[in-house]
Symmetry: C2
Subunit: 146 residues, 2 copies
């Protein structure tokens, strides 16, 4: 009997992009997939690892996240303020809304904006390769955000 059945979806994800299935990579993938926050900084991930008793260095977290980004497994966002945040790239493309009061991040998608963006690029003789749109919002007074 093998040491462990390594046939999980996650281990396949790693093999698929040519990365060895190591403990740190599995754990990080796991955390990104099941954490309360969809968007985490390298430190966030590191803290969860530590609390969980894993002996994984912060440097490794950064290295793994970079590899995941290159492999297209995660997307890296910059938002405002120093740290980068990473999120699993499972569901398709979407943009973000960050509440400046609570820090909450909400995802949204809008086909019309996407279309206009493409048109603008075209109009200048370019092709739209990618884009980054972040709305900084604040709860409407006398109204509960949903």
């Amino acid at each position: 009997m093998p040491h462990r059945a390594e046939r999980t979806a996650e281990s396949q994800d790693l093999r698929k992009v040519g990365l060895k299935v190591t403990h740190p990579r599995m754990r990080i993938l796991d955390i990104l997939g099941s954490a309360p926050k969809k968007h985490m900084t390298a430190e966030d991930v590191y803290k969860v690892l530590i609390e969980h008793g894993d002996d994984i260095g912060l440097a490794t977290v950064y290295r793994v996240l970079n590899q995941f980004e290159t492999a297209g497994i995660v997307v890296r966002h910059h938002f405002e303020g120093g740290q980068s945040v990473y999120e699993l790239d499972e569901d398709g493309h979407h943009d973000h809304m960050v509440c400046v009061a609570t820090g909450k991040v909400i995802e949204f998608q809008n086909a019309e904006i996407e279309r206009i963006q493409r048109e603008i690029a075209e109009a200048h003789g370019y092709e739209l390769e990618d884009h980054s749109l972040v709305l900084y919002v604040r709860p409407k007074k006398a109204d509960k955000p949903r």
Copy 2:
């Protein structure tokens, strides 16, 4: 007769926001206003100062740029990759398009996108405070960008 006629538009801009009219501030304001690139990093500004023979420290450049941002004289952008870039906030609001091939930055404005953004925020119970939109583009093949 005073050492120098301090009645320039720039010196007025500074007084207006309650900042003393100092040599470093004037020079930096000057550089931001007359540089080939509209968007400069603190280092960019610093280099120009050095080449020009000015004896102004990098720390001062950062401090002044921060003050200018607080005063609303410049806008700070994050784009991709570490450094922040600053630009004079003269013309009204606009978004940016960055050519991933040449690094060229093009500004544009689109009322429709702005409107939709506001609607999206509203729909979630928020008020749009600010936003950041950057299009990453590439020259259309067989077509000269203009």
